[in-house]
Protein backbone atom coordinates (compact mmCIF):
# COMPACT_ATOMS: atom_id res chain seq x y z
CA UNK A 1 0.00 0.00 0.00
CA UNK A 2 1.35 3.44 -0.90
CA UNK A 3 1.59 6.24 1.62
CA UNK A 4 -1.26 7.99 -0.14
CA UNK A 5 -3.48 4.93 0.12
CA UNK A 6 -2.82 4.70 3.85
CA UNK A 7 -3.59 8.37 4.31
CA UNK A 8 -6.83 7.90 2.42
CA UNK A 9 -7.78 4.91 4.57
CA UNK A 10 -6.95 6.89 7.68
CA UNK A 11 -9.27 9.68 6.63
CA UNK A 12 -12.12 7.25 6.00
CA UNK A 13 -11.37 5.66 9.35
CA UNK A 14 -11.41 8.94 11.29
CA UNK A 15 -14.64 9.93 9.56
CA UNK A 16 -16.29 6.67 10.61
CA UNK A 17 -15.41 7.34 14.25
CA UNK A 18 -16.59 10.94 13.98
CA UNK A 19 -19.95 9.57 12.73
CA UNK A 20 -20.09 7.41 15.89
CA UNK A 21 -19.62 4.21 13.93
CA UNK A 22 -17.96 1.40 15.85
CA UNK A 23 -14.70 -0.19 14.78
CA UNK A 24 -14.62 -3.99 14.89
CA UNK A 25 -11.47 -6.13 15.23
CA UNK A 26 -11.12 -7.20 11.59
CA UNK A 27 -11.70 -3.71 10.18
CA UNK A 28 -8.76 -1.82 8.81
CA UNK A 29 -7.30 0.48 11.47
CA UNK A 30 -4.21 2.67 11.79
CA UNK A 31 -1.38 0.88 13.56
CA UNK A 32 -1.39 3.58 16.22
CA UNK A 33 -5.05 2.93 16.97
CA UNK A 34 -4.29 -0.76 17.46
CA UNK A 35 -1.29 -0.09 19.69
CA UNK A 36 -3.05 2.55 21.77
CA UNK A 37 -5.98 0.21 22.34
CA UNK A 38 -3.76 -2.70 23.28
CA UNK A 39 -1.98 -0.44 25.73
CA UNK A 40 -5.08 1.02 27.34
CA UNK A 41 -7.20 -2.14 27.37
CA UNK A 42 -4.42 -4.32 28.74
CA UNK A 43 -3.56 -1.74 31.37
CA UNK A 44 -7.21 -1.76 32.33
CA UNK A 45 -7.30 -5.58 32.45
CA UNK A 46 -4.10 -5.73 34.51
CA UNK A 47 -5.61 -3.23 36.98
CA UNK A 48 -8.61 -5.50 37.51
CA UNK A 49 -6.37 -8.51 38.11
CA UNK A 50 -3.88 -6.77 40.41
CA UNK A 51 -6.85 -5.03 42.04
CA UNK A 52 -7.94 -8.38 43.47
CA UNK A 53 -4.84 -8.53 45.68
CA UNK A 54 -5.45 -5.69 48.18
CA UNK A 55 -8.99 -6.94 48.80
CA UNK A 56 -8.10 -10.63 48.77
CA UNK A 57 -6.08 -9.70 51.84
CA UNK A 58 -9.33 -9.29 53.86
CA UNK A 59 -11.52 -12.15 52.62
CA UNK A 60 -10.54 -14.53 55.42
CA UNK A 61 -10.83 -11.77 58.01
CA UNK A 62 -14.13 -10.17 57.02
CA UNK A 63 -16.13 -9.40 60.18
CA UNK A 64 -19.27 -11.34 59.22
CA UNK A 65 -20.48 -13.93 56.75
CA UNK A 66 -22.50 -11.22 54.96
CA UNK A 67 -19.38 -9.10 54.47
CA UNK A 68 -17.32 -12.09 53.45
CA UNK A 69 -19.80 -13.24 50.81
CA UNK A 70 -19.99 -9.69 49.39
CA UNK A 71 -16.21 -9.26 49.32
CA UNK A 72 -15.72 -12.64 47.66
CA UNK A 73 -18.32 -11.74 45.03
CA UNK A 74 -16.61 -8.41 44.43
CA UNK A 75 -13.17 -9.96 44.00
CA UNK A 76 -14.68 -12.58 41.68
CA UNK A 77 -16.23 -9.77 39.63
CA UNK A 78 -12.82 -8.17 39.29
CA UNK A 79 -11.40 -11.42 37.95
CA UNK A 80 -14.32 -11.46 35.52
CA UNK A 81 -13.70 -7.85 34.45
CA UNK A 82 -10.07 -8.67 33.84
CA UNK A 83 -11.13 -11.58 31.64
CA UNK A 84 -13.65 -9.54 29.61
CA UNK A 85 -10.96 -6.98 28.97
CA UNK A 86 -8.18 -9.43 28.16
CA UNK A 87 -10.34 -11.19 25.60
CA UNK A 88 -11.44 -7.87 24.08
CA UNK A 89 -7.74 -6.95 23.86
CA UNK A 90 -6.84 -10.26 22.23
CA UNK A 91 -9.15 -9.46 19.30
CA UNK A 92 -6.44 -6.99 18.26
CA UNK A 93 -4.02 -9.84 17.59
CA UNK A 94 -2.00 -10.04 20.78
CA UNK A 95 -2.01 -13.28 22.80
CA UNK A 96 -2.97 -13.69 26.44
CA UNK A 97 0.53 -14.92 27.18
CA UNK A 98 2.12 -11.83 25.67
CA UNK A 99 -0.21 -9.66 27.75
CA UNK A 100 0.75 -11.47 30.96
CA UNK A 101 4.40 -11.29 30.00
CA UNK A 102 4.12 -7.51 29.62
CA UNK A 103 2.56 -7.23 33.08
CA UNK A 104 5.04 -9.53 34.76
CA UNK A 105 8.08 -7.91 33.19
CA UNK A 106 6.88 -4.45 34.19
CA UNK A 107 6.53 -3.33 30.58
CA UNK A 108 2.80 -2.78 31.02
CA UNK A 109 1.40 -0.67 33.81
CA UNK A 110 -1.64 -1.10 36.03
CA UNK A 111 -3.47 1.45 38.15
CA UNK A 112 -1.11 2.82 40.81
CA UNK A 113 -3.81 2.82 43.45
CA UNK A 114 -3.32 -0.92 43.99
CA UNK A 115 0.21 -0.30 45.22
CA UNK A 116 -1.17 1.04 48.49
CA UNK A 117 -1.66 -1.36 51.41
CA UNK A 118 -5.03 -2.31 52.92
CA UNK A 119 -4.18 -2.24 56.61
CA UNK A 120 -7.57 -2.24 58.36
CA UNK A 121 -11.06 -3.52 57.60
CA UNK A 122 -12.15 0.09 57.01
CA UNK A 123 -9.93 0.04 53.94
CA UNK A 124 -12.41 -2.37 52.34
CA UNK A 125 -15.02 0.32 52.82
CA UNK A 126 -12.82 3.13 51.54
CA UNK A 127 -11.64 1.13 48.52
CA UNK A 128 -15.21 0.30 47.48
CA UNK A 129 -16.48 3.81 48.08
CA UNK A 130 -13.57 5.86 46.70
CA UNK A 131 -11.50 3.64 44.42
CA UNK A 132 -14.49 2.00 42.75
CA UNK A 133 -16.21 5.38 42.74
CA UNK A 134 -13.33 6.94 40.82
CA UNK A 135 -13.15 3.89 38.56
CA UNK A 136 -16.84 4.22 37.66
CA UNK A 137 -16.31 7.86 36.70
CA UNK A 138 -13.45 6.76 34.44
CA UNK A 139 -15.35 3.82 32.98
CA UNK A 140 -18.87 5.02 32.25
CA UNK A 141 -17.80 7.18 29.27
CA UNK A 142 -15.95 4.15 27.85
CA UNK A 143 -19.24 2.35 27.24
CA UNK A 144 -19.46 4.59 24.14
CA UNK A 145 -15.87 4.26 23.01
CA UNK A 146 -15.16 3.62 19.34
CA UNK A 147 -13.71 0.10 19.54
CA UNK A 148 -16.66 -2.34 19.65
CA UNK A 149 -15.20 -5.10 21.85
CA UNK A 150 -13.95 -2.55 24.42
CA UNK A 151 -17.31 -0.75 24.54
CA UNK A 152 -19.19 -4.04 24.97
CA UNK A 153 -16.88 -5.18 27.75
CA UNK A 154 -17.30 -1.85 29.51
CA UNK A 155 -21.09 -2.05 29.43
CA UNK A 156 -20.85 -5.32 31.31
CA UNK A 157 -18.22 -3.98 33.72
CA UNK A 158 -20.20 -0.85 34.56
CA UNK A 159 -23.37 -2.82 35.25
CA UNK A 160 -21.51 -4.83 37.86
CA UNK A 161 -19.42 -2.05 39.33
CA UNK A 162 -22.18 -0.17 41.13
CA UNK A 163 -22.64 -2.98 43.66
CA UNK A 164 -18.95 -2.62 44.48
CA UNK A 165 -19.26 1.01 45.39
CA UNK A 166 -22.48 0.55 47.34
CA UNK A 167 -21.08 -2.28 49.44
CA UNK A 168 -18.03 -0.10 50.20
CA UNK A 169 -20.16 2.83 51.27
CA UNK A 170 -22.27 0.55 53.45
CA UNK A 171 -19.13 -0.64 55.25
CA UNK A 172 -18.14 3.00 55.87
CA UNK A 173 -21.64 3.87 57.05
CA UNK A 174 -21.72 0.95 59.48
CA UNK A 175 -18.35 1.94 60.93
CA UNK A 176 -19.37 5.59 61.21
CA UNK A 177 -22.52 4.65 63.12
CA UNK A 178 -20.53 2.34 65.40
CA UNK A 179 -18.20 2.98 68.32
CA UNK A 180 -15.70 5.86 68.59
CA UNK A 181 -12.91 3.49 67.57
CA UNK A 182 -14.81 2.27 64.54
CA UNK A 183 -15.52 5.79 63.36
CA UNK A 184 -11.85 6.69 63.88
CA UNK A 185 -10.93 3.69 61.76
CA UNK A 186 -13.20 4.93 58.96
CA UNK A 187 -11.66 8.42 59.19
CA UNK A 188 -8.16 6.96 59.08
CA UNK A 189 -9.04 4.98 55.94
CA UNK A 190 -10.45 8.10 54.27
CA UNK A 191 -7.30 10.01 55.21
CA UNK A 192 -5.10 7.44 53.51
CA UNK A 193 -7.23 6.77 50.40
CA UNK A 194 -8.47 10.26 49.52
CA UNK A 195 -5.43 11.63 47.72
CA UNK A 196 -4.46 8.42 45.92
CA UNK A 197 -8.08 8.22 44.70
CA UNK A 198 -7.82 11.72 43.21
CA UNK A 199 -4.58 10.69 41.51
CA UNK A 200 -6.38 7.70 39.99
CA UNK A 201 -8.08 10.04 37.54
CA UNK A 202 -4.71 10.68 35.96
CA UNK A 203 -2.20 13.53 35.61
CA UNK A 204 -3.51 17.07 35.16
CA UNK A 205 -4.57 18.00 31.63
CA UNK A 206 -1.40 20.02 31.11
CA UNK A 207 0.72 16.92 31.85
CA UNK A 208 -1.42 14.32 30.10
CA UNK A 209 0.29 13.16 26.91
CA UNK A 210 -2.46 10.98 25.48
CA UNK A 211 -5.52 13.18 25.87
CA UNK A 212 -5.94 14.76 22.46
CA UNK A 213 -5.67 11.61 20.37
CA UNK A 214 -7.73 9.66 22.88
CA UNK A 215 -10.53 12.21 22.69
CA UNK A 216 -10.66 11.81 18.93
CA UNK A 217 -10.94 8.04 19.21
CA UNK A 218 -13.47 8.34 22.04
CA UNK A 219 -11.15 6.50 24.38
CA UNK A 220 -11.73 9.55 26.49
CA UNK A 221 -14.83 11.73 26.52
CA UNK A 222 -13.78 14.10 29.31
CA UNK A 223 -10.36 15.32 30.42
CA UNK A 224 -8.68 14.05 33.60
CA UNK A 225 -9.29 17.34 35.39
CA UNK A 226 -12.98 17.34 34.49
CA UNK A 227 -13.35 13.77 35.72
CA UNK A 228 -11.51 14.60 38.94
CA UNK A 229 -13.78 17.59 39.59
CA UNK A 230 -16.82 15.41 38.97
CA UNK A 231 -15.51 12.83 41.45
CA UNK A 232 -14.83 15.44 44.13
CA UNK A 233 -18.20 17.13 43.66
CA UNK A 234 -20.10 13.91 44.06
CA UNK A 235 -17.97 12.50 46.90
CA UNK A 236 -17.76 15.45 49.31
CA UNK A 237 -21.50 15.36 50.16
CA UNK A 238 -21.20 11.60 50.72
CA UNK A 239 -18.38 12.19 53.23
CA UNK A 240 -20.57 14.78 54.97
CA UNK A 241 -23.33 12.20 55.21
CA UNK A 242 -20.90 9.82 56.87
CA UNK A 243 -19.78 12.57 59.23
CA UNK A 244 -16.19 12.23 58.07
CA UNK A 245 -13.72 15.00 57.25
CA UNK A 246 -11.95 15.03 53.89
CA UNK A 247 -8.21 15.45 54.59
CA UNK A 248 -7.83 18.65 52.58
CA UNK A 249 -7.77 21.97 54.45
CA UNK A 250 -8.18 23.85 51.15
CA UNK A 251 -11.38 22.04 50.18
CA UNK A 252 -14.14 24.63 49.88
CA UNK A 253 -17.38 24.98 47.99
CA UNK A 254 -17.14 27.65 45.34
CA UNK A 255 -20.50 29.42 44.94
CA UNK A 256 -19.48 30.86 41.61
CA UNK A 257 -18.53 27.62 39.86
CA UNK A 258 -20.92 25.41 41.84
CA UNK A 259 -17.98 23.05 42.41
CA UNK A 260 -15.50 22.36 45.17
CA UNK A 261 -12.07 23.99 45.06
CA UNK A 262 -9.41 21.67 46.37
CA UNK A 263 -5.77 21.66 47.47
CA UNK A 264 -2.62 20.79 45.60
CA UNK A 265 -2.16 17.11 44.69
CA UNK A 266 1.27 15.65 45.48
CA UNK A 267 2.19 14.58 41.95
CA UNK A 268 5.68 13.70 43.06
CA UNK A 269 4.15 10.86 45.08
CA UNK A 270 2.06 9.80 42.09
CA UNK A 271 5.06 9.53 39.77
CA UNK A 272 7.10 7.72 42.43
CA UNK A 273 4.40 5.06 42.73
CA UNK A 274 4.03 4.81 38.94
CA UNK A 275 7.76 4.29 38.66
CA UNK A 276 7.62 1.37 41.07
CA UNK A 277 8.46 2.99 44.38
CA UNK A 278 5.02 2.75 46.02
CA UNK A 279 4.52 0.93 49.32
CA UNK A 280 3.42 -2.37 47.70
CA UNK A 281 4.66 -2.43 44.07
CA UNK A 282 7.09 -5.27 44.70
CA UNK A 283 4.66 -7.27 46.83
CA UNK A 284 1.88 -7.03 44.22
CA UNK A 285 4.07 -8.06 41.34
CA UNK A 286 5.64 -10.95 43.20
CA UNK A 287 2.19 -12.23 44.26
CA UNK A 288 1.06 -12.03 40.66
CA UNK A 289 4.17 -13.65 39.14
CA UNK A 290 4.17 -16.41 41.77
CA UNK A 291 0.52 -17.20 41.12
CA UNK A 292 1.28 -17.52 37.41
CA UNK A 293 4.44 -19.59 37.82
CA UNK A 294 3.06 -21.85 40.54
CA UNK A 295 -0.03 -22.50 38.45
CA UNK A 296 1.91 -23.60 35.39
CA UNK A 297 1.76 -27.32 36.19
CA UNK A 298 -2.02 -27.06 36.64
CA UNK A 299 -2.44 -25.42 33.24
CA UNK A 300 -0.18 -28.03 31.63
CA UNK A 301 -2.00 -30.88 33.35
CA UNK A 302 -5.39 -29.58 32.18
CA UNK A 303 -4.08 -29.38 28.63
CA UNK A 304 -2.61 -32.91 28.80
CA UNK A 305 -5.90 -34.22 30.18
CA UNK A 306 -7.87 -32.53 27.41
CA UNK A 307 -5.58 -34.01 24.76
CA UNK A 308 -5.83 -37.48 26.26
CA UNK A 309 -9.61 -37.29 26.25
CA UNK A 310 -9.69 -36.03 22.68
CA UNK A 311 -7.43 -38.92 21.57
CA UNK A 312 -9.65 -41.41 23.40
CA UNK A 313 -12.68 -40.12 21.53
CA UNK A 314 -10.90 -40.50 18.19
CA UNK A 315 -9.79 -44.06 19.08
CA UNK A 316 -13.36 -44.99 20.00
CA UNK A 317 -14.76 -43.61 16.79
CA UNK A 318 -12.35 -45.50 14.55
Amino acid sequence: MSEKDVKNLEEIFEARIARDEKIEPKDWMPEKYRQTHIRQMSQHAHSEIVGMLPEGNWITRAPSLRRKAALLAKVQDEAGHGLYLYSACETLGISRDELYEQLHSGKAKYSSIFNYPTVTWADMGAVGWLVDGAAIINQVPLCNTSFGPYARAMVRVCKEESFHQRQGFEIMLTLCRGSEEQKAMAQDALNRWWWPSLMMLGPTDAESIHTEQSMKWKLKRKSNDELRQQFIDQTVPQADLLGLTIPDPDLKFNEETGSYDFGEIDWEEFWQVVKGHGPCNKERMSARVNAWNNGEWVRDAAMAHAEKNANKKIAKAS
Binding site: G80, L83, E90, D97, D300
Partner: protein, 94 residues
Protein backbone atom coordinates in the same frame (compact mmCIF):
# COMPACT_ATOMS: atom_id res chain seq x y z
CA UNK B 1 6.67 -27.93 24.21
CA UNK B 2 4.41 -25.44 25.89
CA UNK B 3 0.80 -25.45 24.76
CA UNK B 4 -1.58 -22.61 25.60
CA UNK B 5 -5.23 -23.18 26.36
CA UNK B 6 -7.21 -22.54 23.18
CA UNK B 7 -9.72 -19.70 22.81
CA UNK B 8 -13.48 -20.35 22.92
CA UNK B 9 -16.37 -18.15 21.85
CA UNK B 10 -19.27 -18.04 24.26
CA UNK B 11 -22.92 -17.73 23.25
CA UNK B 12 -25.64 -17.28 25.85
CA UNK B 13 -29.44 -17.51 25.61
CA UNK B 14 -30.67 -14.96 28.16
CA UNK B 15 -34.12 -16.50 28.39
CA UNK B 16 -36.24 -18.97 26.50
CA UNK B 17 -37.75 -17.40 23.44
CA UNK B 18 -34.57 -15.47 22.64
CA UNK B 19 -31.66 -16.62 20.47
CA UNK B 20 -28.18 -17.37 21.76
CA UNK B 21 -26.09 -14.24 21.50
CA UNK B 22 -22.32 -13.82 21.41
CA UNK B 23 -21.19 -12.75 24.90
CA UNK B 24 -17.41 -12.86 24.58
CA UNK B 25 -14.58 -15.34 24.67
CA UNK B 26 -12.33 -17.13 27.11
CA UNK B 27 -9.49 -19.65 27.30
CA UNK B 28 -10.03 -23.23 28.43
CA UNK B 29 -8.30 -26.59 27.97
CA UNK B 30 -11.42 -28.32 26.60
CA UNK B 31 -15.13 -27.84 25.97
CA UNK B 32 -16.13 -28.97 29.43
CA UNK B 33 -13.84 -26.44 31.10
CA UNK B 34 -14.96 -23.77 28.64
CA UNK B 35 -18.54 -24.43 29.73
CA UNK B 36 -17.67 -24.18 33.43
CA UNK B 37 -15.65 -21.01 32.92
CA UNK B 38 -18.37 -19.48 30.75
CA UNK B 39 -20.84 -20.00 33.57
CA UNK B 40 -18.55 -18.23 36.04
CA UNK B 41 -17.41 -15.45 33.73
CA UNK B 42 -20.60 -14.59 31.85
CA UNK B 43 -23.58 -15.68 33.96
CA UNK B 44 -22.81 -14.67 37.55
CA UNK B 45 -26.08 -12.72 37.77
CA UNK B 46 -28.64 -14.92 36.05
CA UNK B 47 -27.77 -13.61 32.59
CA UNK B 48 -28.54 -16.91 30.93
CA UNK B 49 -30.49 -20.15 30.75
CA UNK B 50 -28.36 -21.87 28.10
CA UNK B 51 -24.74 -21.65 26.97
CA UNK B 52 -22.97 -22.67 23.75
CA UNK B 53 -19.19 -22.84 23.60
CA UNK B 54 -17.41 -23.02 20.23
CA UNK B 55 -13.68 -23.19 19.78
CA UNK B 56 -12.76 -19.94 18.03
CA UNK B 57 -10.70 -21.64 15.34
CA UNK B 58 -13.88 -23.35 14.09
CA UNK B 59 -15.52 -20.06 13.18
CA UNK B 60 -15.13 -18.80 9.63
CA UNK B 61 -15.67 -15.07 9.45
CA UNK B 62 -16.29 -12.84 6.45
CA UNK B 63 -13.60 -10.33 5.69
CA UNK B 64 -14.62 -6.67 6.12
CA UNK B 65 -12.25 -5.75 3.29
CA UNK B 66 -14.56 -7.70 0.99
CA UNK B 67 -17.74 -6.13 2.29
CA UNK B 68 -18.32 -4.55 -1.11
CA UNK B 69 -18.61 -7.79 -3.09
CA UNK B 70 -20.30 -9.45 -0.16
CA UNK B 71 -23.10 -7.07 0.74
CA UNK B 72 -23.47 -4.39 -1.93
CA UNK B 73 -25.32 -6.60 -4.43
CA UNK B 74 -28.34 -6.45 -2.11
CA UNK B 75 -28.43 -2.66 -2.28
CA UNK B 76 -29.83 -2.33 -5.82
CA UNK B 77 -32.53 -4.94 -5.35
CA UNK B 78 -35.18 -2.59 -4.06
CA UNK B 79 -37.88 -4.86 -5.51
CA UNK B 80 -37.26 -7.12 -2.52
CA UNK B 81 -38.94 -4.57 -0.30
CA UNK B 82 -42.72 -4.08 -0.06
CA UNK B 83 -42.43 -0.31 -0.55
CA UNK B 84 -41.18 -0.86 -4.14
CA UNK B 85 -44.71 -1.68 -5.31
CA UNK B 86 -47.10 1.19 -6.07
CA UNK B 87 -50.61 0.52 -4.92
CA UNK B 88 -53.55 2.95 -4.68
CA UNK B 89 -54.39 4.17 -1.18
CA UNK B 90 -57.80 2.52 -1.35
CA UNK B 91 -56.22 -0.91 -1.07
CA UNK B 92 -56.43 -1.86 2.59
CA UNK B 93 -54.74 -4.59 4.65
CA UNK B 94 -51.78 -5.03 2.35
Amino acid sequence: MKKNWPLWEIFVRSKNGLEHRHFGSLHAADAEMAMENARDVYTRRNEGVSIWVVESKNITASNPQENGEMFEPAQDKVYRHPTFYDLPDEVKHM
